[in-house]
């Protein structure tokens, strides 16, 4: 048990380090796209440690407690995440729904803390974040439902990945092309990448939920954000890209997915919040349901 917990914490730490490095590298890549030199690849580490070295302000106990709950919830979620087929802390318990809902604990903690700061912009940001969540989550879950049904009924993330590695089975992004597109769009929404970046919107609502944070609280939220991105991208890799047999493959896939999303996002402007909702409930939902019907009832899977 203790070993498992340590492995789990290791996964969380790995996710943090990986995503923070990836974040820095991607800042560099986006900078090159914009003809700039860009920061050092370890810039994100510097940023986070700098935040920890500053003296922050606190708006009362709920402000601090929410941050702790947020980071705690996310660390707990990451502990269940399989990295490769072998690196997994709690085998058999990596249920897809745990990720979706345990992630929500962290989000709830952050939302609570943000609202507890007493700043109206923070509450607006939380409102937008939740609304965006309502938008992207439903199509995504329908696609995942299709996947679970197709694998013959397993919602274990690592087993879904293993299913795709069996000879004769395609990766689900190929097997379910419509669903794959929906998943990519939803992933952009989950990560808060550009067209769906409505709830951060620095120029509009002063970075939304994060408006009152500085110093260590902001640092913890950054750590939380990095781990969240790790979880979401990993989920995508395991569910749609056939998982990873070895660490090298995993790193490669991770890099490709994250970079591709960043490149897409670097050429987009921001949606308004109601546009986000309408967008997701128009095409992605339609595509997801179509995909579910043709895959489950008609059995048309590539």
């Amino acid at each position: 048990m203790v070993v498992n917990i340590l492995v789990g914490l290791g996964v969380a730490l790995f996710g943090f380090v990986l995503q923070t490095a990836m974040g820095g590298i991607n800042r560099k890549i986006v900078a090159r796209v914009q003809k700039r030199i860009g920061p050092k690849w370890y810039q994100e580490f510097i940023d986070i440690f700098k935040l920890f070295s500053k003296r922050s302000v606190s708006h009362g106990w709920i402000f601090d407690f929410g941050v702790i709950m947020a980071l705690g919830g996310i660390i707990a979620t990451a502990m269940f995440m399989p990295v490769t087929a072998n690196i997994i802390a709690f085998e058999g318990y990596d249920n897809f729904f745990i990720f979706v809902y345990l992630l929500a604990v962290g989000m709830l903690g952050m939302a609570m803390s943000a609202s507890g700061s007493g700043n109206p912009l923070a509450s607006i940001g939380v409102m937008r974040a939740l609304t965006t969540m309502l938008a992207y989550e439903v199509p995504f879950m329908i696609v995942v439902m299709t996947i679970i049904k197709l694998t013959g009924g397993t919602s274990s993330v690592s087993e879904i990945a293993a299913f795709q590695q069996i000879a004769g089975n395609n990766w689900f992004i190929i097997a379910l092309p419509l669903g794959g597109i929906v998943a990519i769009i939803s992933l952009m929404g989950m990560l808060g990448k550009k067209p769906f970046e409505t709830y951060i919107a620095p120029a509009e609502i002063a970075s939304g939920p994060m408006v009152e944070y500085g110093g260590k609280q902001l640092g913890m939220l950054f750590v939380m954000h990095e781990i969240t991105v790790f979880i979401e991208v990993s989920l995508f890799i395991h569910l749609f890209l056939g998982g990873a047999a070895t660490l090298g493959v995993y790193l490669l896939k991770y890099f490709l997915v994250y970079t591709a999303l960043n490149l897409i996002s670097s050429v987009y402007a921001r949606f308004k919040i109601d546009q986000v909702v309408v967008f997701f409930y128009k095409w992605p939902l339609f595509m997801a349901v179509t995909q579910a019907i043709i895959a489950i009832y008609l059995g048309w899977v590539i």
Binding site: R36, I46, K50, V57, S207, G214
Partner: protein, 189 residues
């Protein structure tokens, strides 16, 4: 039993070490809060975009004073804006630095005889680096930033400590010019 070889560090020394390590992070990740009061602000876009690219120094814009490390005061300050500037400065989390742009913040510049504009910014809040010029070159701006980094490294960027130590003096100056820093009038109740 006390080790004879290594004399344990005192708490002060440990703090000093940590502070130096912290300084490394702080100077390589300066997040700015841009208080674009005057025309000098026009120098910031080239500094940020591909021409000079301040992100390579680890600098970047931030949305609110709580998150920011360095306050950029870009140009002249009317009395009304000065109030807001002081309020904003006090909301920043420590350690915090201030960069003043242009001759307006140094001595009033071409507005030195205006009744509505203050002349010397460093009487009201502590300024760590001034970038001279009307308006300063972008090279000068970038130079100012690297100077600030050097000062952080040499532990000479002590403006925020100064503001704590000589708070009475700053407050007196502020009150002399403004009457009341945080205004209470019918528009703000």
């Amino acid at each position: 039993m006390k080790s004879t070889k290594f004399s344990p560090m005192t708490q002060e020394q440990i703090d000093k070490k940590w502070w130096e390590i912290g300084n490394y992070f702080r100077r390589n990740s300066l997040w700015m809060l841009m208080y674009c009061t005057g025309c000098c602000a026009i120098e910031l876009p080239p500094a940020m975009t591909s021409a000079y690219d301040m992100e390579r120094l680890g600098m970047g814009p931030m949305a609110t004073p709580r998150q920011a490390d360095v306050l950029l005061v870009t140009g002249y300050l009317s009395l009304k804006t000065l109030r807001r500037l002081i309020y904003t400065y006090e909301q920043m989390s420590e350690p915090k630095y201030v960069v003043g742009f242009g001759s307006c913040t140094i001595n009033g510049g071409i507005y030195h005889d205006s009744h509505a504009v203050i002349n010397k910014l460093d009487q009201y809040i502590p300024v760590d680096v001034y970038v001279a010029g009307c308006m300063p070159n972008t090279e000068a701006v970038m130079n100012g930033f690297t100077d600030l980094m050097g000062m952080i490294k040499n532990k000479t960027a002590r403006g925020w400590l100064d503001y704590k130590e000589r708070n009475d003096w700053y407050k007196k100056n502020q009150l002399d010019s403004l009457g009341e820093v945080l205004v209470h009038d019918e528009f703000h109740e």
